[in-house]
Amino acid sequence: MTLELKNIVKAFKSDVVLDGVSLSVATGETLVLFGPSGAGKTVLLRLIAGVIDPDEGTIRIAGRDMAGVEPEDRGIGMAFQNFALFPHMDATENIAAPLTAKKMGKQQIAHTVEKVAKMLKIDHVLHHKPKELSNGQKQRTALARALSGEPDILLLDDPLRNVDAKLRFEMRLELPRLLKSQQATVIYVTQDYKEAMALGDRIAVMNGHGIQQIGTPRDIYMSPANLEIARLFGDPVINLLDVTPERSERGVQVMLSGQPLVIDAGFAHAIGQSCVLGIRPEALQFVPEGTPGAIPVQIETEAPLNEKTVTLALTKNRREVMISRPSGTEAPSSGTAWVIADVTNIHLFDRTSGDRIEPGQSAAVQGAA
């Protein structure tokens, strides 16, 4: 089923949460709604589910306007962040809720519940009440309940938020396969960029009352639309340094700790503009002293982060930068070191608006000529 939102506006009292949100999701697609808390992700999900109504705008499911359509008639499955299991029913009854609504036969219900429970590995706790379930089992029960009715549209509100790190990691690997097997249109809300990258066919980044960027995980990571998005995606966070591009004999350059860094000639239109240069920690590399273009840094500390090692260092101007490298590789761990930036992997943002500055096409052609 396709899902289409058009110019959705929602305010609670005078507090505008969503201001003109438009979105369309194709059949079978998994769209991740990503953003900090308070960005309106959950509200948007509830609008789609029909438990609250938009002030303005239309929601269409499979082309049908959903205004005035009750939640039970929308063909939706939803998993809540707080699980929202029925406390007085055991796991079986919880999972069977969408099936009893369809007036299915007892045997068929039992069979379906069994199947879904097996898939989610909770078939051994089916007769337990929610309060006897661990957090992970609750989360799986909630997910099973959302899946069992085989809804056309699946809304998952940060289902991994309240589970421990190990389970979250497992589920992050398991979920994409599970969601694909359902063939449902999925909207997945999360605050974790890794989850967003792992699960989304596309990601919609929400911030400040609306959607700021929609694209594939690669698009969002490689060309974030603004400073905020660049900061939200990536761990450790992107290094952001104030620069002003200037003309040099080799094209366009920025000065980093007194060292010129030549950037894409396409940035010529940004010359003289106050900018922020974004360099991902993995785009910085330690090099031997004397390498052309190398910038001296003072190493402060280093720490392992998953499969990476991150070094925190200070530039000559006392600005903090982070350099990441695969764990196990050699690098200086104290004193002065030299780093070089990968110019093909940098981002330029306008300092006042925070918007991304794209390298201009005309300038690139000019450079080629």
Binding site: E72, L85, P87, T100, K131
Partner: protein, 285 residues
């Protein structure tokens, strides 16, 4: 687990014993009185040693009160039945009207909902005597005076606000998401009320019903004014023991024992519902 030191445990035991003595002594004394004759009750100094007699209960159940002035007819059993009938019917109607109303006040924020809810509560503020006088006149004109229907109606003044406000709180404590989840699963609004809201608020509804029953049972003034002998509950009927030839303490005590027994039993039975934790384990705070 915290460890309790022995002295603290002893002190706690003493304190609990004192409290139980304080509250249970009158009941114990009444029970003892109910097995004594007026003479043993009134002797000085009072004593707990006596030969028990069941003549008080006999008199109540047969309806024949033997006094020095002769045999007096009393309608205690009839009164007891009236109390039962009036309280049960009032609470039943109160639940039928109050529980859906409480749900509406808890879940639907419609215009003026707070005002209506408060108005209903305000019935409890007015002294009953204030409404009784006009009510008596209306009831006589409407032909409701001295009818069960009329009394049950007036009892709603006691029962309905109580049920409404207690149950509303319990409905509000149910996370809205749990109800949303059931509706999204494909169930109608009505089914959600029956299968989710009602069972989850069950202990609260039981508590409210029990309290309402006790309040209705203990009511005196409405029944005194609006009911005559054959519709009177025990609270009013007990006045019959104050006779021309003296106050029949033994029978009053027996009457009290019989009339508190049902509410006492009900409270004991419902205790587990009242105490049963309402912590909804399925939702993380």
């Amino acid at each position: 687990m915290e460890t309790v030191n022995p002295i603290e445990r002893v002190l706690r035991g003493v304190a609990i014993t004192l409290v139980i003595l304080f509250f249970m002594f009158p009941i114990l004394w009444i029970v003892l009185m109910s097995f004594q004759t007026n003479e043993t009750i009134l002797r000085m100094p009072p004593s707990v040693v006596f030969t028990p007699t069941i003549e008080n209960y006999q008199a109540l159940i047969t309806g024949k009160l033997e006094t020095s002035a002769g045999i007096l007819e009393i309608a205690f059993m009839k009164n007891l039945f009236n109390s039962f009938f009036l309280s049960t019917a009032s609470v039943a109607i109160g639940l039928v009207l109050g529980v859906p109303a409480a749900y509406a006040f808890a879940r639907l924020k419609f215009k003026g909902s707070e005002d209506i809810a408060f108005t209903l509560l305000s019935f409890r503020f007015a002294p009953p005597l204030l409404v009784l006088l006009p009510l008596t006149i209306y009831f006589q004109q409407l032909g409701l005076a001295n009818t069960y229907g009329g009394l049950i109606w007036v009892y709603q003044l006691i029962v309905l606000p109580l049920i409404l406000w207690i149950v509303r709180g319990y409905f509000e404590d149910i996370p809205a998401d749990v109800e949303y989840a059931y509706r999204i699963a494909g169930h109608s609004w009505g089914a959600t009320f029956r299968k989710i809201a009602l069972p989850l608020a069950g202990p609260g509804i039981a508590a409210a019903a029990l309290l309402a029953f006790i309040f209705a049972w203990n009511n005196f003034v409405f029944a005194l004014v609006l009911a005559s002998a054959d519709k009177q509950p025990v609270t009013v009927g007990a006045l019959a023991f104050v006779t021309a030839s003296g106050i029949q303490y033994g029978q009053i005590a027996a009457g009290i024992v019989l009339s508190i027994a049902p509410t006492f039993a009900l409270a004991l039975y419902a205790q587990r519902y009242l105490v049963e934790g309402l912590s909804l384990g399925a939702v993380k705070g």
